[in-house]
Amino acid sequence: MASVTYDRTSCVYPGAERPAVDELDLQVEDGEFLVLVGPSGCGKSTSLRMLAGLEDVTEGRILIGDRDVTGVPPKDRDIAMVFQNYALYPHMTVADNMGFALKIAGLNKSEISSRVHEAATLLDLEPYLDRKPKALSGGQRQRVAMGRAIVRQPQVFCMDEPLSNLDAKLRVQTRTQIAQLQRRLGVTTVYVTHDQVEAMTMGDRVCVLKDGLLMQVGKPRELYDRPSNVFVAGFIGSPAMNLFTLPVVDGGVAFGDVVHPVARDVLGRAGNSSVVLGVRPEDLELAEHGPAVEVDVVEELGADAYVYGRTKLGDGEHQITARVDGRRPPGKGEVLHVAPRAGHVHLFDVGTGERLGG
């Protein structure tokens, strides 16, 4: 077992204008499940591939434990990787796929066989050991890819969107299985996904990247409750947080016809006469006063319903999403008034996007 450290690690692709990963500073604790998440092109896969040794580090270092592996070839890093398309060897049986690394490492046959069987038992793959990948379902292939990583007993697992080729239902199941497995094995894991739900449900900690820059890293709860900038606020959570640019007035922020009270020192930090106010759909309550919302769509989910509407706020008309009681949902075209729940509002600087307070 070992920790993983990115020490001001950068990756610049030849001919690219800006780095794919820009001075990433990140510590993954021993045995931790860290999720790298962000929109496509944010550098999450590149970061993982640098750790695996499949991508060159342009600047900075990567350490596994105390060992600098920056220039070490992939096979000597003691890591195993699960690929998005699984990358199973199509001409080898499941057992041969799983045992390939061990065979190359020169282990004897009985040792390979016992380790393969052990992993197969763990993953319910025993009946399939003699099959070729093409005779397996998508979920089984995914498990073989996991098995191939497990038999190596590596220091670190690298997982590059391992669930994105599965259908929605299987993805949710497998999500839990992978998280359980990782906790059982206690192997440090770096997991890449673009799906923020996966990130929030699986990770001990989540690291949000955008344009090669680290936006925020923390426990899922922290990211949700205290997003450190506008990007994280909008990226984490589904449906996404409502974000409005609103003028600062005496004693708070003008939210439609009411003033949302904000402490003076928080407003003092704003570099502008307006701020970005963020409020999650579940933190909006129906109220007597507040901005008028014209309902466009109501999504009824049973217990809850989400109201998607339009409202005039600050500089113009905005989309707004609010969660309401599922038993008494408003009708389409109705006009409601909403107000943010006290203490559940996030304020960000208009210029820098940094969190001011909440």
Partner: protein
């Protein structure tokens, strides 16, 4: 138009859509292919089989001669020598061409510097006509005026005049001519192997040679078969290079069966007997390609990439 497709269950239990008659494209779409196949493949084959039972000098009308040509073929020692030589050429050219074409093809599928420039150089023989290639090599290797004669070491060999050496010379020239084509096949196939397989193998600790032998080579299996069948069939049909390069000589040292057929027909004007030889070649070529595809499971037409 209404679509009247109905679902039926086959014995295997999988649902299959049965297309009823009115949905099927008209049979006339087959016509162009059938006309060409009939005119240029079936008809000549039927004719050549017919001619093999006749006596014909190329002029006048062929006269039926029963099995005379066939009994003559069975007793013709020169024909059997030519057949043996054809098989020798077949094996030698396969042995020379396959590894070279595979190595260059796999190499050309990569992303190395200068790859594009060097590849175009390697593919150059593909642009030359057979006559040009044969003339080029005969002037290079000519025992009296050839370029090789003024070179050290090589000057000591009589590439086209030595009855032993000439076999290898012809193998070399034919390989030089056809390797680029087979390289193209291998290049295309090697490009189909997903990059992630090599990445996975790298992480599993496989070096470049191991990756070639455990990943690239097994996944090129069907390309090897395709290329092999083309080479085998080519060996029983092509004679043009040899005709221009050595004329089958010296003596009969390079007189392969297709060339023997050509000389019998177009120099000896025994078209009936030449037809019998060509029927033998036809059976040989068809038999070989059937045998190869059956022995290797190629006929099952299963994807090798499925499950990647």
């Amino acid at each position: 138009m209404t679509i009247t497709a109905e679902k039926t269950r086959t014995r295997a239990g999988t649902a299959r859509t049965t297309v009823t008659r009115q949905d099927r494209p008209s049979g006339w779409y087959l016509a162009p292919a059938l006309v060409f196949f009939g005119a240029f493949a079936v008809l000549p084959m039927v004719l050549v089989v017919y001619l093999s039972f006749t006596s014909w000098d190329g002029f006048g009308t062929p006269e039926l001669s029963g099995t005379e040509n066939w009994t003559r073929l069975i007793e013709d020692g020169r024909a059997w020598d030519s057949l043996w030589l054809t098989l020798v050429f077949m094996v030698l050219t396969w042995l020379v061409q396959t590894p070279i074409a595979m190595l260059i093809g796999v190499w050309a599928a990569g992303r190395q510097r200068n790859r594009a420039i060097l590849s175009s150089l390697f593919f150059l023989p593909l642009l030359l006509s057979t006559a040009a290639i044969a003339l080029l090599w005969s002037s290079v290797l000519d025992p009296n005026f050839g370029v090789t004669q003024s070179l050290p070491v090589l000057g000591g060999f009589n590439f086209l005049g030595d009855t032993e050496l000439v076999v290898y010379t012809v193998v070399w020239v034919i390989s030089w001519q056809y390797v680029p084509f087979h390289t193209l096949l291998y290049q295309a196939a090697a490009r189909q192997v997903p990059e992630s397989l090599y990445e996975a193998a790298t992480l599993d600790g496989a070096g470049r040679y191991r990756q070639f032998f455990t990943i690239t080579l097994p996944l090129l299996k069907y390309t090897i078969i395709t290329s092999t069948v083309l080479m085998l069939v080519g060996s029983v049909t092509t004679f043009d290079t040899i005709l221009i390069l050595t004329g089958g000589g010296p003596g009969t040292a390079t007189r392969v069966l297709p060339l023997h057929m050509y000389i019998t027909g177009f120099s000896g004007f025994e078209f009936g007997y030449a037809s019998a030889i060509s029927v033998l070649l036809l059976l040989l070529g068809a038999g070989l390609s059937l045998a190869v595809t059956r022995a290797t499971g190629f006929r099952k037409m299963q994807s090798q990439q499925e499950g990647v």
